[in-house]
Symmetry: C2
Amino acid sequence: MVKVAIIGFGVVGSGVAEILTDNGAGISRKAGDPIELKYILDVRDFPDSPFADKFIKVFDVIEGDPEVNVVVETIGGVSAALEFTERALKAGKSVVSSNKELVATHGRYLLELAAKNKVVYLFEASVGGGIPILRPLSECMAANDILEICGIVNGTANYIFTRMVQDGIPFEEALRGAQANGYAEKDPTADVEGLDTCRKLCILSSIAFGWHLLPEQVPTIGITKITLADEAYADSCGMRIKLLCRAIAGADGSICPFVEPHFVSMKDPLGGVEDVFNAIKVTGDSVGDVMFYGRGAGKLPTASAVVADIIAAVRKHTLAGYQPWQENRPGDVMFAERFASRWYVRLAKGELTGAKKLSAHQVQGEESGWMTGPMTRIDLNAELEGKTVLSVIRVMD
Amino acid sequence: MVKVAIIGFGVVGSGVAEILTDNGAGISRKAGDPIELKYILDVRDFPDSPFADKFIKVFDVIEGDPEVNVVVETIGGVSAALEFTERALKAGKSVVSSNKELVATHGRYLLELAAKNKVVYLFEASVGGGIPILRPLSECMAANDILEICGIVNGTANYIFTRMVQDGIPFEEALRGAQANGYAEKDPTADVEGLDTCRKLCILSSIAFGWHLLPEQVPTIGITKITLADEAYADSCGMRIKLLCRAIAGADGSICPFVEPHFVSMKDPLGGVEDVFNAIKVTGDSVGDVMFYGRGAGKLPTASAVVADIIAAVRKHTLAGYQPWQENRPGDVMFAERFASRWYVRLAKGELTGAKKLSAHQVQGEESGWMTGPMTRIDLNAELEGKTVLSVIRVMD
């Protein structure tokens, strides 16, 4: 008999309780051992919940109960989540998490702590919600050297872009719509400034390349400055604007990680990813491009990934041995400014030499849009010196 | 030290030898044990191969060598492959296979035999080449009840459709082009008649629903009768023709499996899958739709999936416990003829009442194209009685 404790009864935590109850028989069969939800830790009261008898207020109960084998951490943030994860692992309990901020910041330490205590620390739900990505990347692609990770991993940002294009509304209005539909938080900073995307890239990159990439090492540009004019120019080239996270392996063993909006061809599978959907493209030296697509957020999709990890935890089926995260390597990060690509540029006035002028769409005054050839951001900045630049967006090739 | 024997040095087998050699250090680290290729069994001689010293001609050598822990079966077909797989499993060796025909036909028996001998039988490479699909479906989606499998799993058929649409050439010419480019065999029957797709559906379905679906239970229609007129009508509705394998769960526990060409909206992620690419969409009750996309064939992509399974075999990381295949259940198969959908119909002459007439494209004589409302094939056949029908293609909704 496996006893589970959930800490944090928010959207994901309550989804986990629901799935464990509704699909319990199949889940227990797959785990090879009956699974039972024993505790739910939350500071709030839920007197009307069907799980009302399971609520507790102090972590000590879980920590001190030898019956609890698996702790589900769905609190979010790093303070309480880190403390409880540490204490659970040290008490010999496996921990399953959907907390991207915690994994991106302390993943290496917690994986080591889990290994030391002969338990597992799993976090499939932290990237791509219910889309299987971390386990396939770790295991099914284990025979490959990974060349590139490129993903749309923030559903809120992608929903905003889709609304801008399909409804012709500006960023602020699309954001308000996302908030009204429950796709964006009241404080949308983490989504629209790219922080959430950055954290997910750190997790993907650490698994793909084997050393812990930290959020502060990833140059991150959000989507707040994208305008309808930019969308119109993208459309005129058969492209869409997408917020991408990328980590590209260099021949010298370095990696170049960055998060920024990109022009993406509609012929690329990523260009067709609309609304709140996520997609992660992984390029391996043997397999070429593979892509994983689905709903990257939401109560039940994310909870279903957490529950799959509970099953894996019961089977002591760790990922750590496949690709243990080594120490962070500051010297192995290549700056995105040196990564050459084409660029889309919008000018208030004047010409951009050596670039192709894009067909105009409802141009304001003397505005013009341009597509450069491949160059680094450093070289582009030199070209742009003295000009009044309205937008600069990288092109994915 | 793990010693591996490859049986069958064709495209995939030689790719496995290559990857084991080129990416050896990383593979051994991930397996937690050094992996060494010891034997290659093939009836042919390869005196100039870099692996020339490893070739043998009789299986007894592998069977009798206690050092060999993992046997890679890349022979294909069912006769020798079945015999060698049985003998290897009985001799206590794990077997890793890319052989969809063998798994589709004898998977249940071989999984049981492996379990009885406390070894593993893995076959990730048998569906979707290098695309991770069987393990994510078994493990990452383990908390879901699967509602539908829907996939483009034959690269040859998809390449032929893409050439027909993009180059405006008829089926026969597109097939010859596929053969000239090495995408189709000299005898293309298994690809163009849907048999290969059918076998892959049996494997996907057996994993998703937990009981062994057999190829003879899957109504299978190939692509040889698709014409440019059909492609033009599809285009006029914003659709593409794709050969799909589908298995749909009924509320009563039945499943409805079939392989046939479909009209697929270009707005559906499957509609945009071109050339030799494969994509498999899986619908779970919690996670909703997820899709796995990539190159479904080719030497190194397929071999990389085989090598990932070698690593998993070394770690005794079986899939069987997650979803053991139960006995075949003939009574639980719902006939595709009773599965309602819209239909595209092309008539030589006359009208189809209750259907929408499609805009005509270079119509021959009195030909016309129609889109019906949702109905079963049985009801459609009643409608078509007495008419001269040129094409009937199911629509995916």
